[in-house]
């Protein structure tokens, strides 16, 4: 389980996230929504350690990790799939997976994304956008994380690929993984999510079930643009 409380994160010396509280439970998908510039990516970067945390707590299981370097957080079981499909472009698909550790077992990766096995000797920079997204998720999973945070997974991908990725994410949660999913396409994410958070101007303005947001799109719009609704 990932639990953050009163988290404050800066970017370029300016406060972006102000006292955010959030929980990601095992076997569940927490969806983090918000308009462009709301601070979703900065929040994830603060949790994984890329951006400086200036206050608050981050607990992975029972352990506080907010002072750890990103490498240590990753080793303790926190995976962060950044936006922009951050494959190592000059390495092959298989090298992108092997880089995680000597003797890692790719079977689970290839079972989840069979496309990757066929393309294992191809340079990652030459893969399609969908394949690159599958690769970064598979690579993150090889470290056997307890919690995985996925940022803007569907950006720039065809709807059929997005659907495929969403199903894979749901399957991962069903296998017991804790998932924090950041998405621009709110409707798709809410369909597979268990709990939703809406971030506006660096503050959580909604914390509750996904269903009310699916059934009442106006509520989501109000949350994006102004006005709160804590469930």
């Amino acid at each position: 389980m990932l639990r953050i409380s009163d988290l404050k994160v800066d970017r370029a010396g300016l406060p972006v996230i102000r006292e955010a509280d959030l929980v990601v439970e095992p076997g569940r998908i927490s969806v983090l929504l918000g308009a462009n510039g709301a601070g979703k990516t900065t929040l994830l970067e603060g949790i994984s350690g890329i951006a400086p945390v200036t206050g608050g707590r981050i607990k992975l299981g029972t352990e506080a990790i907010e002072t750890n370097r990103p490498t240590e957080r990753a080793r303790k079981g926190l995976a962060h799939v950044e936006q922009g499909r951050t494959v190592f472009r000059t390495l092959t698909t298989e090298e992108n997976l092997r880089v995680v550790g000597n003797g890692v077992d790719f079977a689970r990766s290839y079972a989840l994304f069979p496309e990757l096995e066929k393309r294992r000797q191809v340079r990652a920079g030459l893969l399609s956008g969908g394949e690159q997204q599958m690769l970064v998720i598979a690579r993150a999973l090889l470290a056997r994380p307890k919690v995985i945070m996925i940022d803007e997974m569907s950006a720039g991908l065809a709807p059929i690929i997005v659907g495929r990725l969403m199903n894979a994410v749901r399957a991962l949660a069903d296998s017991g993984l804790s998932i924090l999913l950041v998405e621009q396409f709110a409707a798709l994410a809410l369909e597979i999510g268990d709990r939703a958070y809406v971030l506006r101007k660096g503050q959580i303005v909604y914390d509750g079930a996904c269903r009310p947001l699916i059934e009442n799109p106006d509520l989501l719009h109000r949350l994006y643009l102004g006005g709160g609704a804590h469930a």
Binding site: R69, P70, T71, A79, H80, E82, T86, L91, V99, A140
Partner: protein
Amino acid sequence: MNSLLTNAVAGLTAGGAYALLGVCATFTFRLVAVVNFAGAAIGASGAFAFALLVEVGTPIWGGAIAGLLFGALVGVLVGEIMTRWFAEASTSIKAAVSTALLVGVTAVGLRVTGGQRPHEFPELLSGSAFRLLGVEVTNTAIAMLGLAMLFTLLIGLFLNRSHVGLQLRALSERPAAAELIGIPVHQLSLWVWAIGGAATTLALMLIAPQRAPNFLGLSLLVVPALASALIGFFRSFWATLLGGVVIGEMESLISGFSGLGAYRTAVPFLVIIAVLLWSQRGGRWDDAR
């Protein structure tokens, strides 16, 4: 003809040194994305540690090992500055910082080693290896070329065949992504700096007896080193190796012509200009169209 051959053979030592220094520059750039203007100054620190230790009576090979370790340590200190405070900076900012470090390390080096007062650099490998058409080929020339080739070969094998090499290749491309999957980016970067520092020290320890052995003179060998690296476009180790040897040979051959000899140190500068012009040819062609 014989004087040309003599100059060509003499150029092998300098060429080998430039090649090794250039390969170190390419190594640093490819893996930690720094155009390292301080590279030769780091090596000069190690080389002078060696010379000063031998001056106070340390056995030559003991002094050499201590010099290599000191060069590696200075490399790590410079690397710590680069990775701790400038890891996410642009390549141009990192280049500016490494230039500042060149000035800083050289200033400290000149102060510690007594300004431009020459020091006696002991020859690690003295004597002649063999004679080629009546010209002596020295052990130093053979060792320098051999070391440059061995280092280039080992780097290639290390990067392409080992797991740490794979992690370094990943790190060089996306340091943040590498860190997020648990690769110890900071430690690996410092190892790159340590290896670069030790290898540069070795090159300078071998070539110093044939150069004006003052700290500034050795530090400025970064110019032919970067010219060599530029020939390999800071990517190809083997092209860099070849570039270093060619620059060393050109310098040596030019020095054989009266009137031109005084301009031999301009060779790296001309190579840098030529390579930069060559690399821009695509853009010029596009503009012309």
